[in-house]
């Protein structure tokens, strides 16, 4: 591991308006994550972990503080810059899989590749270098199916593949097992751990489930918009 953290969050705050009320979702949060870590961020509902997820994923801007990821301060970025940042640096895995229902599993994965401008073959298949990850995820036989023909566990594996196809610096997973039964949940968490250990993929997982958090190499807790 290098001395410079891959993610360096300092004094991060986020205030958003709900009706006439200002909601302080994050109150000076600090966090450092090394490259190759598998970090679980645990907290109860309303603790600010989802807001942190959105800011780390450059989906929403911070109100103040700095968020340096892979050497870039995303707190200072414009919306257009954050869009480009998401394309190349972050891979998302959501609780509800969030696959496009109109596309096959393969096209869902290729779409992320295409948006990032890496779909070199334009029309045929996934990058050959990606095959080991597909093998790890064990979804090769399901690639031609649309999401509605896949089980929840399979959909989440496809979502993980989509998140990784551009080799992002960080994989952000928001309650990735929230919609899965215990068997599939264990399988998905095992895959995240395997990808972290085998591929050196940095993983940040938001969860309120201590059992899920136990798969991570480090666990931090959040409460009232702060990391404890």
């Amino acid at each position: 591991m290098s001395n410079t953290p891959l993610i360096d969050v300092r004094s991060l705050s986020k205030i958003y308006r709900q009706g006439d009320v200002d909601v302080h979702a994050l109150r000076g949060a600090n966090l450092q994550v090394e490259k190759g870590e598998f970090l679980a961020i645990c907290g109860a509902s309303g603790s600010g972990k989802s807001t942190l997820f959105h800011i780390l994923g450059a989906l929403t801007p911070a109100t103040s503080g700095s968020v340096v990821i892979d050497g870039k301060d995303i707190a200072q970025m414009t919306a257009a810059e954050r869009t480009i940042f998401r394309r190349h640096t972050v891979g998302f895995v959501f609780q509800r899989y969030n696959l496009l229902p109109t596309l096959s599993a393969e096209d869902n994965i290729r779409l992320a590749n295409f948006i990032a401008g890496k779909d070199e073959k334009k029309s045929q298949g996934l990058p050959a270098a990606f095959t080991p990850i597909l093998e790890t995820l064990d979804i090769q036989s399901r690639l031609s199916h649309k999401p509605r023909a896949l089980s929840g566990g399979q959909q989440q594996r496809v979502a993980i593949a989509r998140a990784l196809v551009n080799r992002p610096a960080i994989l952000l997973a928001d309650e990735p097992t929230g919609n899965l039964d215990s068997q599939n949940a264990a399988a998905v968490l095992g895959l995240l751990k395997e990808l972290n250990q085998k591929e050196g993929q940095t993983v940040l997982m938001i969860t309120h489930d201590n059992e899920a958090a136990s798969y991570a190499s480090r666990v931090v807790h959040m409460r009232d918009g702060q990391i404890l």
Binding site: T60, D107, L111, F114, I115
Partner: protein, 367 residues
């Protein structure tokens, strides 16, 4: 188009087949409205021109102050025939009176012997020329539309007429009776709507035209080429304005169809748009996706609309061959297509703006 973009566009449209089909149908309707109206306008005018040419005249004299499509009754005195016939290089002159009926129909009174000399005569498909005062002859399309044959009886101008013959279409009119009879029953004896003139040599048409214009100031006198060339949309302001109104209505139909379709698609796909944003899709990418979908709908709608136009053409030809004639006006295919695309693009502006303004985090949590 990139294969992935094409996949996205096509899969989005095929994923919601009913809405896609309805959108295409609405745009097709828009295109058909335009093409049918234009086709009927062109067809009806061209049919009028064809029948006018079928008379075989070189020149045409019409009363002062009439429009080219006027269906007014007969204001000219029939003594003008003799006057015109005596002019140098004029070999034959004959008149006709027009009595408008309901809709586009009109009864033409003709001097059959003179008309036969000028036009070469009617080619009768059934029966023959009128012999009795209550005889009428009809062209094949009028007879077909009204299920009439030689020997049938038909009610026109408040009285019963005996169908003496059915003639091949293309000469002057669809319904012809004797000129004198028509003048008597309309209380307008000895009056004419127009005079057809034959010259001894087409090379003299211009000279005869000038001569008649000098001697009959105020009268509208044309060579047949001039007259038939005037039978165009741009010379009939009523038709032209009507076309503009229908195009306006059609654009609104297309706009509403696409607006509703894409707007509901954007609402339905809020989460999908959020996913695209999370993957790093730019506003331009998402906007262009929706615009391409719209363009594809508009193109498919245009093609379907052109196809539907042949259905309306068949329907008009089958059920109303005498009243309306619809032509295929190829020139208007791209125009109607551009109008449909324009209306569709107008309809996609608001939904696209809404999609681009959606916050990614809210979109991703949209139920």
């Amino acid at each position: 188009m990139e294969p992935m973009i094409l996949t996205l566009v096509v899969s989005n449209l095929t994923h919601r087949p009913v809405r896609t089909a309805l959108s295409i149908a609405a745009i097709a309707l828009e295109v058909t409205m335009i093409l049918t109206l234009v086709g009927v306008s062109y067809g009806t005018l061209d049919e009028s021109a064809r029948r006018a040419r079928g008379v075989g005249a070189d020149l045409l004299v019409r009363p002062p102050g009439t429009s080219i499509l006027s269906l007014s009754s007969a204001p000219m005195h029939d003594t003008l025939i003799d006057f015109v016939a005596k002019q140098p290089h004029v070999t034959l002159a004959t008149g006709s009176a027009v009595q408008p009926l309901s809709g586009f129909d009109a009864v033409n009174g003709i001097d059959l012997p003179a008309f036969t000399r000028m036009s070469g005569g009617f080619k009768f498909l059934e029966g023959g020329p009128f012999q009795q005062p209550n005889d009428v002859i009809l062209d094949e399309y009028y007879a077909k539309e009204h299920h009439l044959h030689a020997g049938s009886w038909v009610q026109l101008m408040g009285r019963q007429w005996h169908v003496a013959g059915i003639f091949e279409s293309g000469k002057l009119a669809r319904i012809c009776v004797d000129l004198k009879v028509l003048g008597d029953i309309t209380g307008n004896p000895g009056r004419l709507s127009q005079i057809y003139v034959k010259t001894d040599n087409p090379a003299n048409n211009k000279a005869v035209l000038e001569d008649l214009r000098n001697k009959m100031p105020g009268y509208q006198i044309y060579t047949m080429e001039e007259f038939t060339s005037l039978l165009t949309i741009s010379n009939v302001s009523m038709l032209r304005n009507f076309i503009y109104v229908v195009i306006g209505v059609a654009v609104v139909v297309g706009f509403l169809a696409v607006f509703m379709s894409i707007y509901t698609a954007v609402l339905e796909r809020t989460r999908e748009i959020g996913i695209l944003k999370a993957l790093g899709a730019s506003p331009g990418f998402i906007g262009s996706l929706l615009i391409r979908e719209t363009l594809l709908l508009a193109v498919l709608g245009t093609v379907a609309g052109i196809g539907l136009t042949y259905v309306t053409q068949w329907a008009i030809h089958t059920f109303s061959p005498a009243s309306l004639t619809q032509e295929t006006v190829y020139l208007w295919w791209p125009i109607a297509g551009l109008i449909a695309i324009g209306g569709a693009l107008l309809g996609v502006v608001v939904p696209v703006t809404k999609a681009l303004r959606q916050d990614a985090t809210e979109a991703l949590s949209y139920e």
